[in-house]
């Protein structure tokens, strides 16, 4: 899952960046309004975390710009201002959620998961495909009820595929959802992780669609 983080404060930005990466989110960190506008126009994000007070303008302008382009990416506002009028202004400008600083990292992560579910039109916090169940909050994967230990990247790839099990994902699409701007990717990294997943979950769990990409196997594992 790829997140655009818009935050000008270096310490909060760094903390969020580290915290999100520890949870295996791919993070692109924009520090100004202009960087944020450029990033949101040129990349596809699953969620945007948006600070309001930016050095070259308001985060609300980024949000309005996004909605003006008919972009429905879920947006969560992070700000020091907690008055109702400011919350209403943020939500009316098109934000999906609002969190006041200082906030708890776990609460932010829970809200990100909820936003992700809502944007996918689901209420269930876990993903199920056949006998395979993935729980994003606890980072656990169960096959036939048995807890299977996966590496962070394996977990992240499986999550991408299980979110939309009917869809075929290209290697580039999977890479985009796993790696931020400053992360180096080995050319065969995705293949290695898919191999790892098949070894742990069964070789038929993920289907390779030749010259296109990968998808979850139909119906059963």
């Amino acid at each position: 899952m790829r997140i655009l983080l818009v935050e000008d404060d270096p310490i909060i930005g760094d903390g969020l960046n580290q915290g999100l990466m520890l949870e295996n989110y791919a993070v692109d960190w924009a520090k100004t309004m202009s960087e944020a506008k450029l990033a949101s126009r040129t990349n596809q994000y699953n969620i945007i975390i948006l600070d309001i007070g930016l050095p070259d303008g308001s985060g609300l302008d980024v949000l309005r710009d996004l909605r003006h382009q008919q972009d429905d990416t879920p947006v969560i506002i992070l700000t020091a201002y907690d008055e109702k009028i400011q919350k209403v202004a943020g939500l009316d400008a098109g934000a999906d959620d609002y969190l006041v600083k200082p906030f708890d990292l776990d609460e932010l992560l829970a809200r990100l998961r909820a936003l992700s579910r809502r944007s996918a039109g689901r209420a269930n916090p876990s993903y199920t495909v056949g006998d395979l169940v993935l729980e994003p909050a606890s980072h656990k994967v169960f096959l036939d009820g048995v807890d299977i230990s996966l590496g962070p990247k394996e977990f992240a790839i499986l999550r991408v595929l299980m979110e939309k099990p009917e869809r075929v994902f290209s290697k580039t699409q999977i890479e985009d959802s796993l790696y931020g701007w400053n992360m180096e990717i080995e050319s065969n990294a995705i293949e290695v992780h898919i191999y790892g997943l098949r070894r742990k979950l069964g070789k038929n769990v993920i289907q390779t669609i030749r010259h296109v990409g990968y998808k979850m196997s139909d119906g059963s594992v």
Binding site: D9, I11, I12, D14, G15, L16, Q18, G19, L22, P55, A80, Y81, V100, K101, P102, F103, D104, L105, D106
Partner: protein
């Protein structure tokens, strides 16, 4: 406040000495209105309810109520801004503590701990600013005025900013015109804060490498301090701008500077050059007696 009390007593005495029934009613009304203003339920006295001979006094009282109301609103806004500014380093501390608790990587943990220290320093600075703000009063200014050598003070400020300037390849230069700059009667802490904030803001807004020149000269009984961006010297001045829109602005510190300027009867301007870059800041500092 003393002037207001005198006017109020005069008003009451006048009312009581006039026709009893009508005036007693007016006095009662006056008391009621003052109580309502006191409770914040009324902005001021209703001038239509008082005799024409007292209209000037009613206006003085209403003007006082208005300026008092504005002062209270300003204080409330300041407290609100200060609390919001404190939330940012507090959020940094909380977040970085959670990172330090979660990570298995010792380098990441060390970085998080260093960030926590930075955030604590920033919070401490904000608390210091709040304390300073609470101490900004005309009474204290009068009590603590002292002879200050402004040149020595600027030298020490430039020294404290040297490291920050060096990172950005900017030289801080002091130019002293009319050699004999006499000591000024000022409040040392207030003036140091004002000058440091202003020079620091100029440094933040100098975009190119080169020199930031602090020029000090005596103009009659005042001191004129120009902080000039040398790379903008050849450009014309374009416009005066409010300090709030410059980089490195904090509403808390801006308000502190505004209050210090007011207390000293000093002025401060920031000028942009025609290219839109910061060109010059000027502080005019009169001797305080």
């Amino acid at each position: 406040m003393a002037a207001l009390t005198t006017v109020t007593i005069a008003l009451m005495v006048f009312l009581y000495k006039s026709a009893p029934a009508k005036i007693k009613k007016a006095v009662e009304h006056f008391n009621k209105e003052v109580a309502l203003v006191d409770r914040g339920m009324l902005q001021g006295l209703d001038a239509n309810k008082y005799p024409s001979v007292l209209q000037d006094q009613v206006k003085i009282i209403n003007d006082h109520f208005k300026s008092e109301q504005e002062r209270i609103e300003q204080e409330m806004l300041f407290s609100s801004e200060a609390s919001h500014e404190l939330r940012t380093p507090l959020a940094g501390i909380k977040l970085q503590t959670q990172i330090a608790q979660r990570t298995q990587d010792s380098a990441q943990r060390d970085k998080a701990l260093a960030n926590i220290m930075t955030s604590i320093d920033r919070s401490t600075q904000l608390v210091q600013s709040l304390l300073l703000y609470s101490r900004l009063s005309p009474h204290r200014l009068k009590q603590e005025l002292e002879e200050i050598n402004v040149i020595l003070l600027i030298e020490s400020i430039l020294k404290s900013l040297h490291k920050k300037a060096k990172v950005r390849e900017i030289d801080l230069v002091l130019e002293q015109h009319n050699t004999a700059i006499l000591p000024m009667r000022l409040h040392a802490e207030y003036i140091e804060t004002l000058l440091k904030e202003t020079i620091d803001k100029c440094l933040e807004n100098k975009l190119s490498i080169g020199q930031l020149i602090v020029k000090v000269e005596r103009a009659d009984d005042a001191l004129k301090i120009d902080i000039v961006n040398d790379t903008m010297r050849q450009y014309q001045e374009e416009k005066t701008i409010a300090q709030e829109i410059l980089n490195g602005s904090s509403r808390l510190n801006d308000e502190i500077c505004r209050r210090i300027l007011l207390l000293h009867g000093a002025t401060q301007t920031f000028l942009l050059g025609e290219t839109g870059e910061f060109k010059k800041a000027t502080i005019t500092l009169p001797n305080t007696y």
